[in-house]
């Protein structure tokens, strides 16, 4: 069944888009991430312009992270103080990202910027996740305890001023790294059309030593607010959010996420991280391939204005 997308200005097959929503939703539920880094490339692949894809996916991620955030909220696994601190700079990061997005679009370099960001971010993060999870798997195989968090161990981050205590997470850290992380996630999310969950969770664990009990719930609250505000800003400045496309994606996404979550709970943590790492790395390589290989068509058109 074909349906005409009013903003993307092209007809698409509803079941194809719904299927993509389901598949990405399944993966996002399994790993507890938003899945934007998969959804945006898929939409571009179907023929939707990168700009519309990035802007629309932000609303899709807002929907799926809200579902997640609600269930973690009920389990009291959200550190609201930490989330608010991250958000105060996250919004600023998102606004900067949307501004840069608009500027780059005017310079015809947006597609390139999206491509390069994907390559660097996904290959680096993917490789790190693979390395870390393989080590964890080998360690357990050799009968050693897989400890990631060493209580009491301090890094230079703990020496920074403006210290704050977050009760729910039982951590005492400087506000500076918290703000920095929030800004980076908001910025990257607006530029790349990703929630940044797969970045934020490791950052919170490694830099701030947030315990696993509250890390995913807190990350989901942050993702929710940054993506909802990215939707608002993209709609207000670039008029690129396709509500019809977003609706189909959301419906597929939230259903897929439920089944994914069930599969995810049956798997061991380090196996799950290895799988996610491989997936992230593969998507990064796919983007690298596209940048390096000579395109079929060197020319492309861009709409400037009517009349």
């Amino acid at each position: 069944m074909q349906i005409y997308l009013p903003i993307a200005d092209l007809p698409v097959n509803v079941f194809l888009i719904l299927g993509m929503g389901l598949a990405v939703g399944y993966i996002s539920g399994m790993f507890g991430i938003g899945g934007g880094f998969l959804m945006t490339p898929l939409l571009i692949f179907v023929g939707i312009s990168p700009a519309v894809a990035v802007a629309t996916v932000s609303s899709h991620i807002a929907a799926s992270s809200f579902t997640g955030a609600l269930s973690y909220w009920r389990k009291r696994a959200v550190d609201i103080a930490l989330a608010l601190m991250l958000l105060s700079s996250g919004i600023l990061g998102t606004a900067t990202g949307v501004w840069l997005f608009t500027e780059l679009r005017a310079l015809d370099q947006l597609d390139l910027m999206i491509g390069i960001s994907y390559v660097t971010l996904l290959t680096v993060v993917g490789a790190m996740m693979i390395y870390e999870s393989v080590r964890a798997i080998l360690r357990t195989r050799h009968g050693m305890p897989a400890t990631l968090r060493r209580p009491g161990s301090h890094t230079w981050l703990h020496g920074l001023p403006f210290k704050l205590r977050f009760k729910r997470s039982k951590i005492y850290v400087s506000a500076i790294p918290v703000w920095a992380i929030g800004f980076v996630i908001g910025f990257v999310g607006a530029i790349m059309g990703i929630g940044g969950g797969f970045l934020l969770v490791p950052m919170l664990i490694y830099f701030l030593r947030v315990p696993t009990a509250t890390v995913i719930g807190t990350s989901m609250v942050l993702t929710l607010v940054t993506m909802a505000s990215a939707t608002l800003m993209h709609a207000a400045t670039n008029h690129l959010v396709d509500a019809v496309l977003a609706l189909i994606l959301m419906v597929g996404g939230v259903i897929g996420a439920q089944f994914g979550a069930r599969t995810g709970q049956k798997m061991r943590g380090e196996r799950l991280r290895l799988l996610l790492g491989l997936l992230v790395f593969a998507v990064g390589c796919r983007f690298a391939y596209e940048l390096v290989v000579k395109p079929d068509d060197l020319f492309s058109l861009r709409y400037v204005e009517s009349g």
């Binding site: 993209h234 390096v292 060197l298």
Partner: protein, 258 residues
């Protein structure tokens, strides 16, 4: 520019061919309004017409050739060219095509270059190679030669999208004076007002012309959404974000069984 060309064509016609105006074109379009709805997958419009003697006493002079030029609403587009920079492919050079038709179909009963000589075709802007596509070159506006790489790429990309086309079989003569032209409207057809120019040739000379028009409009829900996104961006964004929250909340209520 086009008006000047038309005026020139008429002057040339009056001076060169003398009392050549002996034919009159009567055309009718199957549909003057194309409605783009959510299930729109493209459409074909049909233009019917006859060639009538004018004044009645003058005889007709078949065989005739007919060219139908359909132009969509004007828009400005940028053609970009990628080049390899530090190992990756980057948009380096670009040209802006100013106020060019978003849709352009040149339909005829045989290849346009066999209908009239190159000078006439260029003057009347008949055929994709002869249609005026002004580019911004520095501070100047001009159409380049038809084999300019940017112009060729522009026409090729628009043709791939089904927005530009030149068809030598789209016009058929049912009798020597009754014709039918099929105007294809692809799924991604731009909305707005379209002009249809019908030009009749005999012996390589333009002998009669007429025009018609049609509108392509988005209707119902699509139009509503597109208008809202453009005119009330912030409100539209807020509604979309709210929709996201509602669906997220729905899902958590429906599936919360643990």
């Amino acid at each position: 520019m086009r008006r000047i060309a038309i005026t020139l064509a008429f002057i040339a016609l009056l001076c060169g061919a003398g009392p050549a105006v002996a034919e009159r074109l009567v055309v009718s379009l199957s549909n003057h309004r194309v409605a783009v709805t959510s299930s729109f997958v493209g459409e074909e419009l049909v233009l019917f017409g006859t060639i009538e003697p004018d004044p009645v006493t003058r005889p007709l002079r078949p065989p005739y050739d007919l060219v139908v030029t359909v132009t969509g609403p004007r828009q400005t587009l940028r053609t970009r060219r990628k080049e390899r920079v530090l190992g990756i492919w980057v948009n380096v050079d670009s040209r802006e095509f100013l106020r060019v038709p978003s849709y352009l179909a040149i339909l005829s009963n045989r290849p346009v270059n066999t209908i009239a000589n190159p000078d006439t075709l260029r003057r009347l802007q008949i055929g994709l190679d002869n249609f005026l596509l002004p580019q911004r070159i520095g501070t100047d506006f001009a159409d380049t030669v038809s084999d300019d790489p940017f112009r060729r790429a522009f026409v090729r990309l628009q043709t791939q999208q089904g927005l530009y086309r030149e068809s030598a079989t789209a016009v058929t003569f049912l009798t020597p004076t009754v014709f039918r032209a099929a105007i294809p409207m692809p799924a991604a057809v731009p909305t707005g007002s379209y002009g249809i120019e019908v030009e009749l040739f005999t012996g390589g000379n333009l002998v009669a012309r007429t025009n018609s028009a049609l509108d392509v409009i988005k209707t119902g829900f699509e139009q509503y959404v597109a208008d809202a996104a453009r005119d009330y961006g912030l409100l539209y964004g807020a509604v979309t974000a709210l929709m996201a929250l509602l669906i997220g909340w729905f899902a958590s209520v429906i599936f919360a069984r643990d």
